[in-house]
């Protein structure tokens, strides 16, 4: 029914959009990535997000990990009012590819400086939060997972204010937001309630600096069999701190992007501080690259460090090793050295190749999950190597 309604509407809007003083009232654009990735170990299946499942052998090239397709439409309702909807499909929990609505907001430009948006926008936790699936704009195959796995919440249902003012030759953008978010994770789900955040970005011609802070109520529910088993053996006061609706989290981030002549550098730091259910960790990365015409080789170093485990209860010797496994399975600590190449093969199309050496832990399997055996999380491992190839496009 929606399609029946939308088609004539599109024709009507597009058909009326030819005069210059009456700019297009409806615009449609899209972006995507076709990517394959594999590791050098069958029991280490690479994931680009903690919301992904991992069940195929790690050495098989997997085209579902990084591939993504997004379509976005904006309708101008009035000079100061427009509506934007973006739908994205990519692999999430249980190999589900159903398109999700990643943006759906009404925007009101109150003044040239002040914009108000209401509906579904994105959380502001990272430098690339508002363009998470838009790989075309970065040198990487994907944003570094050390930093970007710290927060799987992408969509924010609520309201935000954007205020932009010039500061000398630079532009300062202040974003304040309030809202809720929900995400499905393998064998569970999590929600942010009443998230409040502030983000500052200072942009000049070659340099962007930004910093953000957010605090939120946190709900986390696990449903994997190991967690279910633990709830039957742990003392009640311990298991009630493993999942529930009483959590609080804070998030800090700071980042910079710099371009000068043919050099580029991108760096970001982020920290999540959580009082229960999941661990407190910080992470950072730095990327530097150089453009030789259409080719941009780059190198990245990235690291995630756990500061406090998901559950630090003092337990009797019979139970402590079980909790260690639980904590390790909720810890994504790892470090990566990556070498990559971006090739701007045509207008709107980039081909990328990236090789990574990932050192896991301590007390972690990094971004890799173990689908079958909880004790895998406690095994020491050698570095895992990951190879990724992708094509990014915008239209």
């Amino acid at each position: 029914m929606n399609q029946l309604l939308v088609a004539p509407l599109l024709v009507a809007l597009v058909g009326s959009a030819t005069a210059a003083d009456e700019p297009a009232r409806f615009s449609l654009s899209g972006f995507g990535t076709l990517g394959v990735v594999r590791s050098d170990k069958d029991d280490f299946h690479f994931r680009s997000s903690t919301t992904q499942s991992s069940s195929s052998p790690g050495q098989n090239f997997d085209a579902t990990t990084d591939s993504v397709l997004g379509v976005q439409g904006t309708a101008r309702l009035h000079d100061q009012l427009d509506a934007t909807v973006q739908a994205v499909t990519r692999q999430t929990v249980g190999y589900d590819y159903s398109p999700r609505i990643s943006w759906a907001y009404l925007r009101y430009r109150a003044t040239p400086e002040l914009t108000v948006r209401a509906g579904r926008t994105t959380t502001p936790f990272f430098m690339f939060s508002d363009s998470l699936n838009l790989n075309y704009i970065t040198p990487w195959v994907r944003p570094p997972v050390e930093v970007y796995s710290l927060n799987p919440f992408a969509a924010l249902d609520g309201i935000d204010l954007l205020y932009r003012i010039p500061v000398g030759t630079l532009d300062l953008e202040i974003q304040a937001l309030y809202g809720d978010s929900h995400v499905s994770i393998p064998h569970g789900s999590a929600s942010l309630k009443s998230a409040k955040g502030l983000k500052l970005a200072l942009a000049g011609s070659g340099l962007t600096l930004q910093a953000g802070y957010a605090r939120t109520d946190l709900e986390v529910h696990w449903g994997d069999y190991f967690y279910n088993y633990l709830t039957t053996v742990m003392p009640p006061n311990v298991s009630q701190n493993m999942a529930g609706n009483e959590g609080h989290a804070q998030f800090f981030s700071a980042g910079m992007q710099w371009e000068k002549d043919n050099w580029l550098a991108i760096a970001e730091y982020a920290k999540r501080k959580v009082d229960r259910y999941i661990n407190t960790s910080h992470a950072w990365y730095i990327t530097t690259g150089y453009r030789f015409g259409a080719l941009t080789p780059f190198v990245t170093y990235a690291k995630q460090v756990q500061e406090a485990p998901a559950n630090d209860a003092t337990l009797p010797p019979a139970l402590a090793p079980l909790m260690d496994i639980f904590n390790a399975s909720r810890n994504n600590a790892q470090k990566t050295i990556a070498l990559g190449l971006r090739w701007d093969v045509a207008r709107n199309i980039a081909i990328k190749a990236q090789g990574e050496r990932i050192y896991l832990g301590p007390d972690s399997r990094g971004i890799f999950a173990s689908p079958s055996n909880p004790t895998d999380y406690n095994k020491p491992t050698n570095p895992v190597h990951v190879l990724s190839l992708s094509v990014d496009f915008v239209f």
């Binding site: 615009s27 040239p112 363009s131 075309y136 704009i137 532009d171 207008r347 915008v394």
Partner: protein, 140 residues
Amino acid sequence: MLRPLLHLLTTLALLAPLAATAEPVIVTSLKSGPIELTREQAEKLYLGRSTTLADGTPVKLVDLPAGSTRDELYLRLTNKNPAQIVAYRSRQVFTGRAIPPLEAENVSEARQWLTDTPHLIGYLDRADVTSGMRILLRLP
């Protein structure tokens, strides 16, 4: 009838050594009145960092279709190559930060718009500027 002729002329023009590099100039309709545009403000407008002139007058922008004049304009104004501009623009569009300029289908449509519409700003190769418009900014 006219189109093949135009294509032939364009091709010949492109082959001529003197016209090998486009020289883009930023123009507006004579109907826009006595507006002024600095190079810094032009860069801000085309990078989506502003939607007004320095005095606060709202303006709208025109882009030519992908090609050498457009590439040369962005290179001279923003020091970004075509791939960098696509990346920059994509981020702005997909994050709702800026609305991209109105894209003309060809030079003659851009010329028509830029002659008829006040407070519309665009660029053309210097050789394509006609009498109904005024050059706001040269980019040597």
